[in-house]
């Protein structure tokens, strides 16, 4: 048996609401990409029948819209959680306003992207580069909701979609809105591929349990790193991080 003993601490990083959010979001995006792709490129599977006998395209669109509503409210919830959740889920992690965040972004690029430097990145939640990318995906979520509900407003009289109706004239018309909505699908797909790859990558070289952390919420963090983070958290923020 090959084993080693290292001082590790288990750190509770992702609270249950964050984990639920994550998986609902993942499933919604999967459903929205698949149904969205079909809406953009339907296959003419049926021939020689009459319209009243079928409704498959209507169903595909229905799934898209149901997933869209779920996706939207889930996203609203996560935004709210960014103000009330634990220190790893707070909004300020995602927007690099502090110099220390930019320094870490450069570090991550050197360590994980270019691989010219070898050390552990201290962040226990997302590292600063990952956080910043997630911030960009939040903007993508927003734009996808604006374009999606903007289009949806034309076929609905209900209150929520009408709130987005202004976005269509803002872009000059439905043609542009639809095109942007379609292009963004590819941004989602590319993000998802790279996201999954990087989770594997980090687990492969760091073994902090990043994959299972989105299931159970806990990560294994080297003792010294965990304590150092705890100290700095105490010294910089007036409210002590709940641990």
């Amino acid at each position: 048996m090959k084993s080693r003993s290292v001082p590790l601490r288990e750190v509770y990083v992702w609270e249950l609401p964050v984990r639920i959010y994550h998986w609902i979001n993942a499933l919604c995006i999967l459903a929205l990409c698949i149904t969205g792709y079909i809406i953009g490129n339907p296959i003419a599977v049926m021939k020689g029948t009459e319209a009243y006998q079928n409704f498959w395209f209507g169903n595909v669109r229905f799934i898209h819209f149901v997933a869209a509503f779920l996706f939207f409210f889930n996203f609203v919830f996560r935004t709210y959680w960014g103000f009330v959740g634990n220190e790893y889920s707070r909004w300020y992690n995602f927007i690099p306003l502090k110099k220390s965040q930019w320094i870490e972004i450069l570090e991550v690029i050197k360590v994980d992207v270019l691989q010219v430097k070898h050390k552990q990145i201290d962040s226990i939640g997302h590292n600063s580069l990952a956080s910043f990318i997630y911030f960009i995906t939040f903007l993508m979520f927003l734009l996808q909701c604006l374009t999606g509900f903007g289009m949806y407003a034309a076929m609905s009289t209900s209150y929520l979609p009408q709130l987005f109706a202004w976005f269509v004239p803002f872009l000059g018309g439905d043609i542009a809105v639809r095109q942007i909505h379609h292009i963004l699908m590819w941004a989602f797909i590319l993000f998802a591929i790279v996201h999954v790859y990087l989770v594997f990558y980090h687990d492969y070289i760091e073994r902090r349990g990043i994959t299972s952390s989105m299931i159970g919420g806990w990560k294994f963090i080297e003792e010294d790193v965990a304590l150092r983070n705890d100290d700095s958290a105490t010294s910089t923020s007036p409210k002590k991080g709940k641990k």
């Binding site: 090959k2 080693r4 021939k47 319209a51 992207v113 070898h118 043609i175 542009a176 095109q179 590819w186």
Partner: protein
């Protein structure tokens, strides 16, 4: 001020029966979505109100709006607007020419300040004003002068509403729609290439009956005619929801009248009344004749082609390149990048992977 005859007086003189006149009023009330007494209001207005003075300009355009107009379903429409009503100045149709013509429209501006309507067909060049001159003056100068004292402006068709083909990339004349070059007056964008004649008539009747412009959507189009997509009123919609699509113009689906979505139909992104009012006295409209909608009442529809393809090509990537092709290409690049990264990881992060730097590694 001289006494102007009402519309009804004018058409009666032409031998139009009262019955036909009332039919027209009822149709218009229905098109405009007025309440039950709307027909009466219209009839009343057409009988009592003096005709609206109108100046109708042709700038950078093809006259298809005028052509559409004179083919409107009810003889009264063309009659009312073209012969009688108004056209104190209309470059294509007026008898006068040269100085006489110029005088005619100068006279309207002097005689009816704040009461006349300016109707515009065509876009206005801004790259070089000389691209469109009439009587030695540029389109912009003429328009600005005429608009200064008018009651409202009606922009006919896609050219005047959003630039149409002249404003398509690369827009050599710097063509601009009316609402972008003037300010301070209400502009009604009667979209389409051309707009449906009955829609044009509806706008005129509304102006006359109520003395103000109809309710507009956020792109300046009258809500009564442009609040629904062609797709929402299309009789092929059942095929769309059923997933029955035409894939080529001579396939089985085309014969059965399936949905034209895969042939590039822009009905889902186009706001117009084609599915309801239809064309040529309600005979048909493009989709009914088997051709996909090309989105002629939407801004920039020329640049969102090709017409026979659902997804527009992406600017700067060539005519055949859609977002899907680019997306797929980027996907392949990403996969290659990840493969390269995975390989270098196994080499450069070897120590991390095998735990070599650790001292407390135990093998047994």
């Amino acid at each position: 001020m001289e006494k102007r005859p009402s519309y009804y007086q004018e058409v009666k003189g032409k031998g139009i029966a009262r019955r036909d006149f009332l039919k027209f009023c009822t149709t218009m009330a229905a098109f405009l979505g007025l309440e039950a007494n709307g027909a009466g209001q219209i009839a009343n207005a057409l009988q009592t109100k003096p005709r609206l003075p109108v100046i109708w300009f042709h700038f950078q355009e093809c006259t298809c709006c005028s052509e559409s107009f004179i083919r409107s379903s009810h003889p009264l429409v063309a009659d009312i607007v073209l012969n009688k009503i108004s056209l104190d100045y209309q470059e294509t149709l007026m008898a006068a020419s040269g100085f006489q013509a110029e005088e005619a429209y100068q006279a309207v501006m002097k005689k009816y300040p704040g009461q006349y309507i300016v109707m515009v067909e065509g876009s206005i060049p801004t790259e070089n004003e000389a691209y469109c001159c009439i009587g030695g003056r540029s389109a912009l100068q003429i328009l600005e002068e005429a608009v200064a004292n008018c009651m409202a402006v009606v922009a006919w068709g896609n050219c005047a509403s959003s630039g149409c083909v002249q404003a398509a990339s690369p827009n050599p004349t710097g063509a601009k729609p009316v609402h972008e070059v003037i300010s301070g007056k209400p502009v009604v964008n009667v979209q389409g290439c051309p707009p449906i004649a009955d829609v044009m008539a509806g706008v005129v009747v509304h102006l006359l009956t109520f003395g103000r412009i109809p309710q507009l959507d956020s792109l300046g189009r009258p809500k009564a005619f442009y609040s629904r997509r062609v797709h929402d009123t299309c009789y092929r919609r059942a095929s769309f929801d059923a997933g029955l699509f035409v894939e080529s113009f001579d396939d089985e689906g085309a014969k059965r009248g399936y949905c034209l979505y895969k042939m590039g139909c822009k009905g889902p992104v186009t706001y117009n009344s084609c599915g309801i009012i239809k064309w040529n006295d309600g005979v048909s409209y493009p989709i009914q004749s088997g051709h996909p909608c090309i989105g002629c009442s939407e801004k920039g529809f020329w640049d969102n082609g090709p017409f026979y393809q659902h997804l527009p090509s992406v600017a700067g990537f060539g005519i055949e390149t859609t977002a899907d092709k680019i997306g797929l290409g980027l996907g392949v690049l990403t996969a290659a990048g990840m493969a390269a990264h995975a390989i270098t990881t196994n080499i450069r992060k070897h120590k991390e992977i095998t735990n070599e730097p650790e001292t407390n590694l135990k093998e047994s």
